[in-house]
């Protein structure tokens, strides 16, 4: 009796595997299928714009699925690549906070719709989408940390300016794979634009550092 039951299980085991959980494709197969989809399923006004879909090494590492964690080696590689990516402007790191204020509240530029690339003089800084900015501003996102009082808390010394510049240019140098876009490294913002954002964040005159 017992023996025949086992025999039955032996016969049925492959069938169970066939309908069951064992039949999900492995990671490499899934990646192959999905990457093939990405390479055929998008259009752009110019072939060069399709390159936006191509991942660089850091993006590949930072696309962990579900609860998969970065390994220490991967995190170190992302940090290393980020550090190497940072370029500095010819002038100082602290620009004009008034220009930075406008940039921080500008969420436009570089989008593609109906065969057209959105043409602007420059891309917006996108900050308002995700960060609380000046005190009392209501129309702000909360995906990233609040930046209200950024300069009040940290001061406006040279090291603070440099750190701030680098965190905007490529924040993965400090927080590998964080949600923060590598705004300078990917070319979304120019080094000069970033100096204005630095000023907006650390200048004592900036609205972000005023009391309510």
């Amino acid at each position: 009796m017992r023996k025949s039951w086992m025999k039955g299980m032996l016969l049925f085991a492959p069938a169970l595997i066939a309908v069951g959980c064992a039949s999900y494709p492995d990671e490499a197969t899934t990646r192959g299928l999905a990457e093939k989809m990405v390479s055929t399923d998008f259009t752009a006004p110019t072939p060069a714009l399709l390159n936006r879909l191509v991942q660089d090494r850091s993006q590949q590492i930072c696309s962990k699925i579900a609860d998969a964690k970065l390994t220490q080696e991967e995190a170190a590689e992302v940090v290393k690549l980020a550090r190497a990516s940072i370029r500095y402007p010819s002038g100082g790191l602290v620009g004009d906070w008034k220009i930075g204020d406008k940039l921080a509240h500008n969420g436009a530029g570089s989008r593609i719709q109906r065969g057209q690339l959105e043409k602007r003089k420059e891309n917006g800084g996108l900050c308002q989408n995700c960060h609380a900015l000046a005190p009392g501003e209501i129309n702000v996102g909360n995906i990233g940390p609040s930046l209200t009082g950024y300069g009040t808390q940290r001061g406006n010394s040279e090291p603070v300016a440099k750190l701030t510049y680098e965190r905007i240019y490529n924040g993965w140098a400090y927080a590998p794979c964080s949600n923060m876009p590598r705004l300078g490294a990917t070319g979304h913002l120019t080094p000069e634009q970033i100096t204005h954002l630095v000023a907006y964040l650390i200048d004592p005159q900036s609205p972000i550092n005023q009391k309510k």
């Binding site: 299928l33 936006r52 590598r182």
Partner: protein
């Protein structure tokens, strides 16, 4: 032998988790109350009758209705069909979502040109809406009150689901965004716009049960295909093709994440 038994048991346990359903509860914040009030008098309802007329009427170069279109339950059988999409279709040898399947039928049965339908699929804001939008809403509305539960029995359904999961977490472009950057945590907003937490069962269920939806700011019905397209636009990525495999994979992932939820369309969006 013992190994085999253990393996079979593990498999059964794994299969059983597919059917589990998380209980839904209602968030009580002011915005939710406002949405509830709007949803109770949802202008989107108006498009259901239009979709019904389009479905049964004779249209296209072949002057045919869509009554021969098979959405998975048999030709013309719409009851509960949308609750089991995306799914594998043998005639196209593809996993298809509602809208890509609709496209197949409009081309094969009614004789429309694929390019023509796609060009008109997403209507201008403030217009009377497109045929595809009305049809997608009507067909989905025939699954109202039923639970979202797409099949995973075909190997291509499982491949599509896993590809969708991969794509949800895939980061690219000058903003380094994947879907999860905005939809991976609870209580997040872009400016004042609430974002659904889609790696959570409840958030995914909101996605799986409310599209097509009436979009207040556009005064028309919007579909899931449009929703995905618009996300990629905002992510600064190239334009997602209507009915593409990428879109179907993402929808498959989201519908499985949100399985078990009662479908209630049209949803109401800002």
């Amino acid at each position: 032998m013992r190994m085999n038994r253990g393996f079979a048991a593990a498999c059964l346990a794994c299969c059983a988790t597919w059917g589990t359903v998380a209980a839904q509860d209602k968030a009580g914040d002011g915005l939710a109350i406002g949405r509830q009030m709007l949803a109770e008098d949802n202008p989107g309802e108006l498009w259901i009758e239009q979709g019904k007329a389009l479905f049964h009427g004779l249209h296209g170069p072949r002057k045919a209705s869509l009554e021969r279109c098979d959405f998975g339950m048999g030709p013309g059988k719409l009851e509960g069909a949308a609750a089991q999409l995306p799914r594998y279709f043998a005639d196209t040898d593809k996993v298809q979502d509602l809208e890509s399947r609709l496209l197949t039928c409009m081309v094969q049965i009614q004789g429309f040109q694929h390019e023509d339908i796609v060009k008109r699929a997403v209507s201008p804001a403030g217009s009377n809406g497109s045929d595809v939008e009305a049809l997608a809403l009507y067909i989905t509305s025939r699954s109202n009150g039923m639970k979202m539960n797409p099949p995973l029995s075909h190997v291509k359904e499982r491949e599509t689901y896993k590809a969708g999961e991969y794509l949800f977490f895939r980061r690219s472009g000058q903003t380094d965004f994947g879907c999860v950057q905005c939809h991976g945590e609870a209580n997040k907003r872009i400016r004042l716009q609430d974002l659904l937490h889609m790696t959570d069962k409840k958030g995914a269920q909101e996605v799986a049960s409310t599209w097509p939806a009436y979009r207040g700011g556009h005064y028309v019905i919007r579909t899931m295909q449009w929703r995905l397209y618009d996300c990629f636009w905002q992510m600064r990525l190239p334009e997602l093709k209507y009915g593409s495999d990428t879109s179907i994979a993402l929808i498959s992932y989201l519908h499985h994440q949100g399985s078990g939820v009662m479908i209630k369309v049209p949803g109401f969006k800002r």
